[in-house]
Amino acid sequence: MALDRWIALIFILFCCTYGYLAFFTMDQDVPPFMQSNPVWPSTFPKVLAVLGVIVGLVVLLGLEKPDAEKEPSATDINYRRLHEYKLGQALALLGLMVAYALLLRPAGFIIATVIFLVAGSTVLGERKFHVMIPVSLIAAGFVWYLVQQVLGIFLRPLPFFLGH
């Protein structure tokens, strides 16, 4: 089974869960004064859940025929050529993004950002640290200034143990 059909199957299961929540768990919470109302909070989700299952089934069963003449082009992204891609680098970068999210509060903006930028370029094969570290430091400082001072959004620059 091709990937798009697997996704359709997951989508149908998702819609069933969503529909279950809408049909069976939401209506108890509707306050009495709203019960004479023709629309409840669950009305629209119910419609969506049913439509979602129908459309998902159409994709899963392949009722709509794909364009047979279309050949996937070499430059287009295609999961059948996944092994040819630099999967490790991409996963490492995604991992770095997660690490950044977790580090941002405790380590402070400046340190987290510099680590992210330097580690990111290292993952991609850059070895000129004497360029990358100053560049990331300047970028982090500049963005911090922009966000905190110009846009006025709180962003802790330093680690938690150095005050705020």
């Binding site: 990937l3 798009d4 996704i7 989508f11 409840w40 989700p45 279309k70 995604l94 999210a101």
Partner: protein, 506 residues
């Protein structure tokens, strides 16, 4: 109308707004030039900045400038590297790249800039004529018609998704609508589908979703498949000789005239947009051209370069018509703009022109200014801006990812939002691998709340779903939506049967 133009000029010519147009165009050109990053990613990255400006007119002006700049930058990389940054400029590379290879890169860039300028300008004039007319019709609409109109818009976007893609696009639209129901709505004062998670109480942030759907996957694909993007190689090639001859100018004029009008009207249609307009523009001009002219297409033809460039800019302008008059976005980019406006407490729609004419007209006027800025400021700078193409991707990609992270953080001021960004981004990457279109998801998400509001209001008014039958216009629009969805597969089936030689009954 004259009064409106005056209001618009006054607003657009304030120092702040002029600076914003210039900044927007420059940033847009800069990032739009990077192969692989389209206008949707750039606008998504710029939205937090626009929202913190606080002034809706200023925000729209900045974002419209970025949009124009991105399209312009996209054609630059198509011409110089044969690596279109976005689908809308693929047709530009057909003739632009051969021209650049013949050593006429400067001329190609100028032709592209002049025809984009003309396409954009004529598009804005058409927008000024058609938007007020359309919005006075739209004022007659009730919530039932609005609901139906949104259904039509969403179906049209799915219908234009291409052969074999219609149900996939519909599936994505529904997923977008479902995601929009998460959180506490204005209509019912109760949280829905939050699964008890506090961070979902206020719903999924549209900035995070937009970044996760476009900017993040595009950056990751640059990593995955370096061959897909030819960036960082010969971008620093010398660009000289920006002039084109008088004869070439004369050849361009009729092309520009035809393609700006055609492009504009294609742009107005939901779901069609700049890509379709540029390909169609190229095809039409090639068919019209005769003899030697036609043979030159694909080998550096002036007409072949002017046609898609005019058409895609006119279409970009055209796509503002449904956004500003009906409040219904026809493309991913205008959907992101709509999201930004909603975040600034402005609801685009027919009332926009009567309630806050200054926003409407300021945007129109800034489109004029944006086009002029692109022509007289950006064009001479292109040889310098093109240097960005030689920035190594090892530096570029971490920065792009960092900006998506920052955008999501600024939008919500919350570190868990970043985890959500990565999660949704991974989902988007899987969808892209399976060839699911992502723009419908975002458009569905942004229209979801409004659609439910209008649906609920008409249900309350008519005490049930009778409004569908009692209002002929609603019924008509819903029927149209059904036809739009069913027609592509019906036609494909007929074509297939005909190809197999089976009689199809008529």
């Amino acid at each position: 109308m004259l009064e409106g133009i005056m209001i618009g000029l006054e607003a657009a010519f304030s120092i702040q707004n002029l600076l914003l147009v210039v900044a927007g165009c420059l940033i847009g050109t800069f990032i739009g030039m990077l192969p692989g990053l389209g206008p949707m990613s750039i606008i998504a990255i710029m939205i937090p900045v626009a929202i913190t400006l606080g002034d809706p007119a200023a925000a729209l002006i900045l974002l419209a400038g970025v949009y124009y700049g991105a399209i312009f930058g996209g054609s630059t990389s198509s011409i110089l590297l044969n690596a279109p940054g976005i689908a809308g400029t693929v047709a530009t590379s057909f003739d632009g790249y051969p021209m650049a290879r013949n050593g006429q890169a400067g001329k190609a860039l100028t032709i592209a800039a002049v025809s984009s300028f003309a396409g954009g300008m004529i598009g804005v004039v058409l927008l000024m004529i058609f938007a007020p007319a359309l919005s006075s019709v739209a004022l007659l609409f009730h919530s039932a018609e609005y609901f139906a109109l949104m259904v039509v818009g969403l179906s049209a976007i799915a219908a234009f998704a291409g052969t074999g893609q219609v149900t996939k696009a519909l599936m994505m639209t529904l997923l977008g609508l479902i995601l929009a129901t998460v959180g506490e709505g204005a209509l019912f004062n109760m949280p829905r589908f939050t699964l008890g998670i506090m961070d979902l109480q206020s719903g999924i942030s549209f900035i995070t979703l937009a970044m996760a759907m476009f900017a993040l996957p595009e950056a990751v694909f640059l990593v995955l498949n370096p061959a897909g993007s030819a960036g960082g190689q010969d971008g620093s090639r010398k660009i000289t000789g920006l002039r084109f001859s008088r004869a070439e100018g004369r050849a361009m004029v009729p092309v520009i005239g035809r393609q700006s009008v055609q492009g504009f009207f294609i742009g107005v249609l939901p779901g069609a947009g700049a890509t379709l307009a540029s390909f169609l523009g190229y095809a039409v001009e090639r068919n019209i051209a005769k003899g030697d002219d036609q043979a030159e297409f694909g080998h550096g033809s002036v007409k072949g370069l002017a046609a898609p460039e005019t058409a895609n800019n006119a279409a970009c302008t055209g796509s503002f018509v449904p956004l500003l008059t009906l409040g219904i976005p026809g493309s991913g980019t205008t959907a992101i703009l709509l999201g930004a406006l909603i975040a600034l407490n402005v609801t685009p729609g027919p009332r926009l022109m009567t309630d806050t004419p200054e926003i409407f007209w300021a945007v129109i006027m800034s489109m004029f200014i944006g086009n002029v800025v692109l022509l007289i400021l950006n064009l001479p700078l292109i040889p310098y801006i093109a240097k960005i193409l030689s920035i190594p991707r090892n530096y570029l990609i971490p920065f792009i990812l960092f900006f998506t992270l920052m955008g999501a953080y600024i939008g919500q001021n919350n570190a868990t939002e970043l985890l959500m960004l990565v999660g949704l981004g991974v989902m988007a990457i899987i969808f892209r691998f399976a060839d699911y279109p992502l723009a419908p998801l975002l458009i569905g998400f942004i229209l979801g709340r409004m659609m439910e509001d209008n649906f609920a209001r008409s249900m309350q008014l008519y005490r049930g779903p009778d409004f569908i039958l009692e209002r002929p216009m609603t019924l008509g629009l819903l029927a149209l939506a059904l036809i739009l969805v069913v027609l592509p597969s019906y036609r494909a089936r007929r074509a297939r049967k005909r190809a197999e030689g089976v009689a199809d009954g008529d």
